[in-house]
């Protein structure tokens, strides 16, 4: 058909972490992968990283506040290095991770990057999403799907350790622990402490150490601290009862993996010291970057293996999160139905699931739960864009699809009167016929976007970009994730 069958887009991923700030630019190829005798299926078929930035120390104004102007300068410098201008960037994501995510930095960074990072770059945050991006960037997700083995990726950065359990390429659980290599800072290559973060203070107390800024730490003390940190990580991995210190450092729920596992992959800044043969022996070797990273990596690797796990090597270590963010944050909608270019992009669309997940809806009761769910969202006086997440009709029979279409139109009547597009997230393969039925049954013109459920699994906010491939798909970017909703 006279339609574009291949297109490339350029995506930027920016990771602003506790310790480091990085950027990657990648080229994504979108293709119709279905044969000519089938319904077209647009997929991202290739992801090529075309530029990796240097690894910068995150510019901070103080220990809490990111220097967003300096971040913007980093981005400018790296675009120049890649010979690209902001106009060349189609999409992307900024992920603010680790300790920095706790602080109120996102807004100032987005403002500083406005106009710099292309038309459609979104800020994402949240420990769950960060864990998943890290595991996708490290190669753990791919390992689980090619080897058909469950694997846990632990991305140990400066401020946090992010866990993600992967089964057949899909994250099935995540967790985040406030353990990282940069929680205590030193004068580089010396034993003099220059900063102790709040979580580090808790760890020191748990070890029975009374170190403070300007104190000199011994190798024995550093070993005790990093061993305690590594034990906290192992407690989560073992899914046993947590000790009080681990509980205090836990930033999300603990791991409750639906699958047992014995493969572990470690990425992040300390990962290079997990997979090394050379043990850091002196305080000077440990604090070569002004933190505890090398020793934490060494102790962690030893403990993981000693606990009977098999340690797999990641394809990326310190860059795992930024590569995951740059290459994995953009997804395609699936069977988009009908939406005008002016309506897009849409930002901060709330994903609403009015029905119990994965249950097919008894079709006499479609509209009421939708009305209730929409009203509960609008209780605080806001009027956000909503994407309805629904498994599908009761059966794939035409009559049931019609009933679902009618129920949705009735349930969303007030919402649609404001000329907002109807956004549907469907698990069953019925996007085209449901969209067509809604258009046929609606009284006036209506805009409908259908998104495949796999694209936005377990996500509670999405952004939707401008149409691609001659209007046949729209890019969808996940913003935050919740498990066990």
């Amino acid at each position: 058909m006279s339609q574009l069958n291949i297109q490339t887009i350029t995506s930027v991923g920016i990771d602003i972490g506790t310790t480091t700030t990085q950027l990657v630019i990648s080229r994504l190829t979108i293709e119709n992968t279905a044969s000519g005798t089938s319904v077209p299926r647009m997929e991202i078929t290739a992801k090529e990283v075309i530029h990796r930035s240097k690894i910068y120390f995150t510019p901070l104004l103080d220990h809490e506040l990111i220097n967003s102007v300096a971040v913007a300068n980093i981005v400018k410098t790296e675009y120049d290095a890649a010979s690209l201008t902001p106009n060349d960037i189609d999409t992307g994501a900024v992920i603010i991770t680790g300790e920095t995510a706790k602080k109120d930095n996102a807004k100032s960074i987005l403002e500083a990057l406005a106009g710099l990072a292309g038309d459609f770059v979104v800020a994402t945050a949240g420990a769950n999403l960060e864990s998943i991006y890290a595991g996708k960037g490290s190669g753990a997700a791919a390992f689980s799907s090619t080897r058909h083995q469950v694997i846990v990726n632990i991305d140990v950065g400066g401020g946090t350790s992010n866990f993600a359990v992967f089964h057949e390429g899909k994250a099935v659980d995540t967790a985040c622990l406030n353990v990282g290599g940069h929680l205590i800072e030193f004068e580089p290559r010396s034993d003099k402490i220059t900063y102790i973060s709040k979580p580090a203070q808790k760890i020191l107390t748990a070890c029975g150490l009374t170190l403070s800024v300007n104190d000199h730490a011994s190798m024995t003390q550093l070993r005790l601290i990093t061993k305690t940190m590594a034990e906290c990580v192992l407690e989560l991995l073992n899914q046993n009862r947590l000790t009080p210190i681990t509980q205090e450092l836990l930033m999300t729920q603990s791991i409750r993996s639906p699958f047992s596992f014995h493969k572990v992959m470690i990425s992040g800044g300390v990962a290079d010291y997990v997979y090394t043969e050379i043990e850091p022996l002196s305080v000077e070797e440990v604090t070569c970057f002004g933190d505890l990273g090398p020793l934490l990596g060494w102790e962690l690797g030893k403990k993981v293996v000693a606990s009977g796990y098999s340690l797999e090597k990641p394809t990326e270590t310190v860059r795992a999160t930024v590569i995951g963010t740059g290459t994995q944050s953009v997804n395609l909608s699936g069977s988009t139905i009908h939406v005008s270019e002016q309506t897009l992009p849409l930002r901060n669309v709330i994903v609403l699931a009015p029905f119990a997940t994965s249950e097919n809806i008894p079709y006499q009761n479609i509209s009421l739960p939708i009305i209730k769910a929409v009203q509960s969202l609008q209780e605080d006086g806001t009027n956000p864009y909503i994407a309805l997440s629904i498994k599908g009709p009761q059966t794939m029979a035409f009559a049931d699809i019609q009933a679902l279409a009618r129920g949705i139109l009735e349930g969303m009547r007030d919402y649609l009167e404001e000329d907002k597009p109807l956004i549907l997230i469907l698990e069953d393969d019925c996007g085209k016929v449901l969209g067509q039925s809604i258009e046929a049954l609606a009284l006036g013109p209506i805009e409908v976007i259908c998104i495949d459920q796999v694209v936005v699994d377990e996500c509670d906010y999405i952004d939707i970009g401008k149409p691609l491939m001659g209007g046949r798909v729209v890019p969808v970017i996940m913003k935050t994730l919740v498990f066990n909703r």
């Binding site: 058909m1 005798t37 319904v39 794939m396 393969d429 067509q436 046929a440």
Partner: protein
């Protein structure tokens, strides 16, 4: 075999058996009449007892497991599970020695039987009435002719021509034909959900639809004759595919823009694999609307459409 007279046939058989035996010295012929009489008596009393089947009636239907992993002690069960999800092929079924297990073999035979049935049964009258289709036949007079002489399935019977001229509206933009082809099961399984979705979609973009017809014993090319008879811009045939061992319910949609004497196979656009395990029929109906709209817009179909 029914008993003739007072067991004359049985008597004859027994007598001849006894003669053979006495020839070989295995039977003393002086007791002959007595033995024959008692044997016939036994046979007659047995005949009055009803024959009981070996399998009790309520156990005649056996459901075979379809999607079971039957590999003994698999090294990586997760891997088999993931691979089985990607294909309906018979993988992960284990083996008994060098051969397949009994369940797999029975499943194979059952699927083969379903495939054969799909070819040999007819689409029911009741179904045609429910779908409100004008029914005609091809020039093939029965299944035998249809299967052995493909040419006959490619044109309408004389009566079929007359019925279409009489009952179908002229000059439609889209003429819909439902054709049994090689699987009547595919028609009954898919058309109830596909046809309403197709018609709804065509109506909503304001296309003029002809009177849908059903052609019994039809093949793909019969659509050319129908298109010419009603002078349709584009004709679409929803036709049962040759059944396979994976499914017997797969349907294809063949579309062609203004077929004429120069038409070749490459002029047809096809969407195949429509069934509940492939493209779901209702979803296919909605997609076909897009394809038909595209064909009408550029006024070509088949390979030329892909090149536009």
């Amino acid at each position: 075999m029914t008993a003739e007279g007072n067991g004359q046939l049985e008597t004859l058989i027994i007598q001849s058996v006894l003669e053979e035996l006495s020839k070989n010295g295995l039977f003393d012929s002086k007791n002959k009449q007595q033995v024959v009489n008692s044997a016939v008596q036994v046979i007659n009393s047995a005949a009055s007892v009803p024959i009981t089947p070996l399998i009790p009636e309520d156990e005649e239907t056996v459901t075979l497991p379809t999607d079971e992993i039957m590999v003994d002690n698999p090294f990586n069960l997760e891997a088999i599970r993931a691979m089985k999800k990607t294909t309906p092929a018979r993988i992960g079924i284990g083996r008994a020695g060098a051969r397949q297990k009994t369940v797999s073999w029975l499943r194979f035979l059952a699927d083969h039987a379903v495939a054969k049935d799909a070819v040999f049964v007819d689409v029911s009258e009741d179904f045609l009435k429910r779908m409100n289709l004008v029914a005609v036949t091809s020039a093939a007079q029965d299944k035998e002719q249809f299967l052995t002489n493909p040419e006959l399935g490619r044109r309408l019977s004389e009566e079929g021509v007359r019925i279409i001229k009489e009952k179908c509206s002229k000059n439609p933009q889209v003429q819909i034909c439902v054709v049994d082809g090689l699987s009547s099961s595919a028609i009954e399984a898919n058309i109830p959900d596909l046809l309403p979705a197709l018609i709804q979609g065509l109506n909503s973009i304001g296309l003029k639809i002809g009177t849908p017809v059903f052609i019994k014993h039809g093949r793909v090319w019969v659509q050319d004759q129908v298109a010419k008879l009603v002078d349709a811009e584009v004709v679409i045939s929803l036709i049962g595919e040759r059944p396979g061992l994976g499914t017997a319910e797969s349907l294809s949609a063949y579309m062609i823009y203004r077929p004429n004497e120069n038409t070749v196979e490459a002029d047809r656009t096809v969407i195949s694999n429509i069934h509940k395990g492939g493209i779901p029929p209702a979803e296919a109906g909605a997609h076909l609307v897009d394809v038909l709209e595209q064909i009408l817009k550029v006024k070509v179909s088949g390979v030329k459409l892909n090149q536009k």
